[in-house]
């Protein structure tokens, strides 16, 4: 019983980061209408930024969080402006191919620059745990969970309370009407794409401590995020958090209870994705 609760607790903590990354993906899909295969690469950027700052400047990853947010926002905005904007009206196939090409380019650029090794950022508090009755919570996963929650809440507030946030939602609902009301769709797209990248960048810093930084770490999270987004319904922001919870709990249960489960965790996201698709096909969506 205690093992089960501990497993569920670990899954819950992981769900925060998953939701953060997948929300970014859902934002670029729902608002800009772009399937961004390079979403995880913004995460990789944050992870390597955190690693480089830690290894060469001795800077605590806590400082890297803010820097990664800004850097990923900038890279995301530039990506939108230089690459996405020209293909906004192109066929969907071309859009997907473009972001896929960007993903391949960035992954292999990182491979050329840093090699395939995994690098962990190890600040002094990396292994600290808090005891909660009979259960143990890692300080870093707990911090990452709380920060993810705070970021998601502020995004929610931004989208529902601020004028700019309302503009973002208006553009997501209708491509044409907001223009008639004086909302610049281009600016909104830029903001949404930058924000999506920034969320992934922050998640990358967290993962550089919890997991590792490597050229392929982003791609892994692209796949998991797609599974979450497909489960939530494409571009549906509200469904992302419960879907992330389902995936994270399923992964935690598999890795605890299945023999040799460590290697099978990767198949869980596929199973979730596959079941979500089958369900959708049966309902005839």
């Amino acid at each position: 019983m205690e093992l089960l609760l501990q497993t569920l607790l670990n899954g819950l903590l992981m769900a925060g980061v998953y939701a953060l990354v997948a929300t970014g993906l859902a934002l670029s899909l729902g608002v800009v209408g772009i399937v961004n295969f390079a979403h995880g690469e913004f995460l990789m950027l944050g992870a390597f930024l955190s690693y480089l700052l830690f290894a060469f400047r001795g800077l605590d990853p806590l400082f890297a969080l803010g820097l990664a947010f800004l850097a990923a926002f900038l890279v995301g905005a530039l990506t939108y402006w230089g690459l996405i904007r020209p293909v906004l009206k192109a066929p969907e196939l071309n859009q997907m191919l473009l972001t896929f090409g960007l993903s391949i380019l960035l992954q292999n650029l990182a491979l050329l620059l840093f090699g395939a090794d995994t690098r962990v950022v190890a600040p002094p508090y990396q292994a600290a745990t808090l005891a909660l009755g009979p259960f143990f919570l890692g300080a870093v996963p707990l911090g990452a969970f709380l920060l993810s929650l705070a970021l998601l809440l502020s995004l929610q507030l931004f989208l529902t309370r601020s004028r700019l946030g309302l503009a973002v939602r208006a553009v997501a609902q209708n491509r044409l009407a907001p223009g008639l009301l004086g909302i610049e769709a281009e600016g909104v797209y830029l903001l949404a794409f930058g924000l999506a990248a920034a969320l992934a960048g922050v998640a990358g810093v967290m993962l550089s401590v919890m997991l590792y930084a490597s050229p392929s770490v982003g791609f892994l999270f692209t796949l998991k995020s797609f599974a979450i987004v497909a489960l939530a319904g494409l571009g549906n922001l509200k469904g992302v958090v419960p879907a992330a919870l389902v995936l994270a709990l399923a992964e935690a249960l598999v890795s605890t209870y299945l023999p040799g489960g460590g290697g099978l965790v990767e198949a869980v996201f596929f199973l979730v994705l596959f079941l979500a698709l089958v369900g959708r096909a049966w309902r005839g969506a």
């Binding site: 399937v35 295969f37 690459l83 020209p86 293909v87 192109a90 066929p91 969907e92 196939l93 071309n94 997907m96 191919l97 473009l98 896929f100 090409g101 960007l102 993903s103 391949i104 380019l105 960035l106 992954q107 292999n108 650029l109 491979l111 050329l112 395939a116 796949l223 797609f226 599974a227 497909a230 494409l234 040799g260 290697g263 099978l264 990767e266 198949a267 996201f269 596929f270 994705l273 596959f274 698709l277 089958v278 959708r280 096909a281 005839g284 969506a285």
Partner: protein
Amino acid sequence: MRGILGLLLLFALLPFLPLGAWGAFLLDVGLFILLFTALALSWDLVARTGQLSLAHGAFFGLGAYGAGLMVPHLGTLPALLLGSLLAGAGALLLGSVTLRLHGLYFAIASLAFSEVLRTMALKLPFTGGPIGLPVPPPFGGGWPLASYYLAFAVLLLAVALSLWAERSSFRLAQAATRQSEAVARVLGVRVVRVKLLSLLLGSLVAGLAGGVYAMKALFLNPYEAFSLGRAVEALVIPIFGGLYSTLGPLLGGVVLVGLEQALRLWIQEGYLVVYGALLILAILFLPRGLLGLLGGRRG
């Protein structure tokens, strides 16, 4: 048409051209051009219905492992056939669930499909796992040119399929499906069936190419056989050469695979940077590929 025949003739005669010391190296390069061009044509066949397949690396790997496991028991040709059928079965499984949905679900699921197959090749007890699987050469190794001409046969099949799809009424069904599924339905095109048939044909060719690759490489490991890089090659070649045509992927294959084999002499890992960059540049600036540059007619 003359371009296609010329290129095919060149490949048929390549082993007999007086190339001197470079002969053996060029023959190897030629073989890889044949295989990956066939893979590219099989990807293009699926792309003509507007579907982005990222699973062609997986079909290739299924064919490679299927053939590699069966060769010692069944002989060369039946093993190739079985590998190809295995890839086809994978395609039917993937396609029957995803092809009814909006196109981007297929792209995402095909990507996940290939990731999971690699994990399975690593974990299953009979694949040799991460250590790999040794494969005997075709026909017991008796004829040195066998793998080259098997590869040539695979390309011939791919070209024939592509030409058939280009010249029959199937082309209209594919084009209608690509441009607007709703309109295609109204016109009486059975959209799901067209997409599934295209995917099945594409996967069969990709599986054959994988099988011949296994017999040429003599050794398979999951990272090579199921690499995402294979899917990247399969899609960059037609886009660079010219989408929805037969000559385009042929041209693209000769240029890109030749370039890749040359680049590999200098760079071991990360040569895919070139493919990523080419993909972005081609989408932004050369949407009709090399064919468009040469002023070719669009199919």
